[in-house]
């Protein structure tokens, strides 16, 4: 009886020490699931999910705090991918995916206040105080964060015209199946 208690206690102490040691020795830096989720997010940094950027949303998803349908630029395709990755039920998107847009600053209206430059998460607006600002169309993610701060409302979101390089063959009309 005594020997049994002693053995079990010794085993428990040994495995406890082993677990404690490996928790320190093989510690994983960062959150691998959050990294994986982040690589799927569209990185527009738009904040429309309610989190300040894609990384915080990815971390919230990894913790299980956030719904998987919060990312508007990602659209339904992202909801399905996230549901697949996290083993959660797909949730319907409230709003359908928007058409790709790019910001445009009206040169007649711009007063050079630099507020849009500060708001842009990807540094896609160039300019300086009291100088005309302009959008780098190739870097703009269409997040619309620059629209609200503009005091003279001179920023428009313009749809990106479809060109031959970006053209995709349409999905064939559904069969009778």
């Amino acid at each position: 009886m005594f020997a049994a208690i002693l053995t079990i206690a010794a085993l428990a102490a040994f495995f406890g020490a082993l677990l404690g040691y490996s928790a320190l020795r093989f510690r994983v830096e960062g959150n691998p699931i959050a990294d994986q989720i982040e690589s799927l997010l569209p990185q527009t940094q738009c904040g429309q999910c309610g989190y300040p950027g894609c990384r915080p949303y990815a971390e919230a998803l990894a913790k299980g705090d956030a719904e998987i349908n919060r990312c508007l630029p990602g659209g339904e395709a992202l909801v399905l991918t996230l549901a697949d990755l996290l083993g959660r039920e797909p949730v319907r998107m409230e709003i359908r995916k928007k058409l790709p847009v790019v910001a445009y600053i009206d040169p007649q209206g711009c007063i050079g206040c630099t507020r849009c430059i500060q708001a842009c998460p990807v540094d896609a607006i160039i300019g300086a105080t009291k100088q005309l600002h302009a959008v780098l169309a190739t870097e703009c993610t269409g997040c619309e964060l620059c629209v609200a701060p503009c005091p003279v409302d001179c920023i428009q979101m313009r749809p990106i015209p479809e060109d031959i390089q970006g053209w995709r063959w349409p999905y064939p009309a559904p069969t009778s199946l």
Binding site: Q45, D123, T141, I164, W167, R168, W169, L177
Partner: protein, 523 residues
């Protein structure tokens, strides 16, 4: 299938997997010699007529240009320049419908011909090219804007520079012309066999292969005879062979022709140069000869205008940029309203909707088909898994599986089944008893995968910029903090902290002030 078929000429030929026999319809136009077309009122020369980066215009609106003058220069290595097809005035650089399945507009240089056909100054002919550095000849071919005229329009100078680590042992010249209706290569071989062989000789000099094989389908006996006759008169005969190959669609596919002639297969997602083979179209060979021996850039090509809706099907030498309605008018217009207007062949071509679309370097055929020639296949029915698509697939793929995954938008699985080895020849859709638009599914999946890849790259770039901005803001905040601290420290240093010191300072200041006051003259 890898069983060699013994050939009457004594050369062993191989069979590629699958393929189909279809009515070749070449008799409509193959008896018509190549005619030149009178100048149209306007030429719309697209800036993107090749695979790679579009050319950048180097002329201004209103400028006068000469025939053969470079009007757009290449941007990057895989690109090609564009030359004025005739002399005239630049009316504009503006969007216009171009030969592309999307039917979209793309930038074109609009030229109003002056009718004089005045040539620009041409570079000297390189008649003694075997004594010239191959790099200079490649540069000449690049300058001339020669691209693959079989339809793929890959810049020829790039293809003729396989790199020093890839020795080329076989050069294959593609005269198969396997798609129905098309007869432009057939006529070119019958009428300009000598020119083609001169081009072959130049390419042979550049690549130094051991053998040259010219593959021609046996439904073109006149072309084979003309080429053999021309070959016998040249010194190419030692290493060149003209091979008559059995007519089977799509034997003109690059990988299929390599298999037929050499029995070798190009590894998946690789180019023929990997196994020491380079393949060129006969039209490209003739264009190479024009560029090197005449200093003539690629400004025209032979186009077959055919189909039963055309009054008089013909083979035409057409200036690049000529609108297709001009060609159809030259062929006597329509016999009956066409059901479909197709750019390219009936199997791999695409429908065009705007008759002012111009001819580009890759346009080998224009078809105006009657409804009897292009019957509506009817609504697609469920796949019955008969497997006929798999037996005819020349790339040895499983079209049914590809269809299944493309339909389910499973873009990862569809690549596991080697979607990108599909040459979109249309054999599977042709034999499908359920009339499934199979090729359209594959094209959809391919473009969707490319778009997804591009989006991923764009997201990666946005993330990098976002992180860079965050890092910069943090650094600036840190620097501001550091400056503030420094400032405070400086203040603290100059400001004596002890009250008795401060009192002493105040006393000293008072005494100084009193002394100054006593020195002032009294009123």
């Amino acid at each position: 299938m890898t069983i060699p078929i013994p050939d009457l000429q004594g050369r062993t030929l191989w069979r590629f997997h699958g393929g189909i026999h279809i009515p070749d319809e070449k008799a409509l136009a193959n008896h018509r010699p190549i005619e030149t077309v009178p100048l149209p009122e306007r030429l719309w020369v697209p800036l993107q007529q090749h695979i790679g980066a579009p050319a950048r215009p180097k002329v201004l609106v209103g400028e006068r240009v000469f025939k053969g003058q470079m009007i757009a220069e290449p941007q990057g290595f895989v690109s090609a320049p564009i030359h004025a097809p005739t002399s005239g005035r630049i009316l504009g650089i503006e969007p216009h419908p171009v030969p592309h399945p999307s039917g979209f507009q793309a930038p074109c240089i609009v030229i109003e011909p002056d009718g004089a056909e005045t040539w620009a100054e041409r570079p000297p002919p390189l008649l003694d090219y075997p004594q010239i550095d191959p790099a200079l000849i490649r540069e000449r071919i690049r300058w001339a804007g020669v691209v693959g005229l079989g339809g793929a329009t890959f810049p020829t100078s790039v293809k003729l520079s396989p790199g020093p680590d890839r020795a080329i042992h076989t050069l294959i010249i593609n005269g198969a012309e396997c798609e129905p209706y098309i007869t432009c290569d057939d006529r070119l071989m019958r009428e300009r066999a000598g020119r083609i062989l001169e081009g072959v000789r130049i390419i042979h000099y550049l690549l130094q292969p051991k053998t040259v094989l010219i593959g021609i389908e046996d439904n073109k006996p006149e072309a084979i005879a003309a080429m053999r006759q021309a070959l016998a008169a040249t010194d190419l005969v030692d290493y060149t062979e003209i091979v008559s190959i059995p007519t089977l669609y799509p034997s003109g596919g690059e990988k299929q022709l390599i298999k037929i002639l050499t029995g070798r297969e190009v590894p998946t997602s690789n180019i023929p140069a990997q196994i020491g083979i380079v393949c060129q179209n006969i039209g490209t060979a003739a264009a190479v000869a024009d560029a090197v021996l005449d200093g003539r850039p690629l400004i025209s090509r032979v186009v077959t205008v055919s189909g039963r809706a055309i009054a008089c099907p013909s083979n035409l030498e057409v200036l690049i940029g000529t609108p297709i309605d001009h060609l159809i008018a030259h062929c006597g217009g329509y016999r009956q309203p066409p059901a479909k207007l197709i750019c390219g062949g009936p199997m791999m071509g695409f429908q065009i909707h705007d008759p002012t679309t111009p001819v580009a370097k890759g346009t080998n055929c224009l078809l105006a088909l009657t409804s009897a020639e292009s019957p509506d296949p009817g609504p697609p029915l469920p796949c019955i898994r008969c497997g006929r698509c798999a037996t005819v697939c020349p790339a040895n793929l499983l079209p049914q599986q590809l269809y299944w995954y493309a339909r389910a938008k499973d873009l990862d699985r569809v690549q596991d089944y080697h979607l990108f080895d599909c040459i979109e020849c249309g054999c599977c859709a042709y034999v499908c008893p359920s009339h499934l638009p199979l090729v359209q599914y594959y094209r959809y999946a391919k473009t969707e995968i490319w778009a997804r890849e591009q989006e991923r790259r764009k997201a990666e770039q946005a993330r990098a910029r976002y992180l860079a901005k965050q890092a910069r803001l943090e650094r600036q905040a840190r620097e501001r903090q550091a400056r503030l601290q420094q400032h405070q420290e400086a203040l603290a240093y100059s400001d004596p902290a002890r009250p008795e010191d401060r009192a002493a300072l105040i006393d000293a200041a008072r005494q100084r002030a009193a002394a100054r006051r006593s020195q002032l003259p009294k009123d």
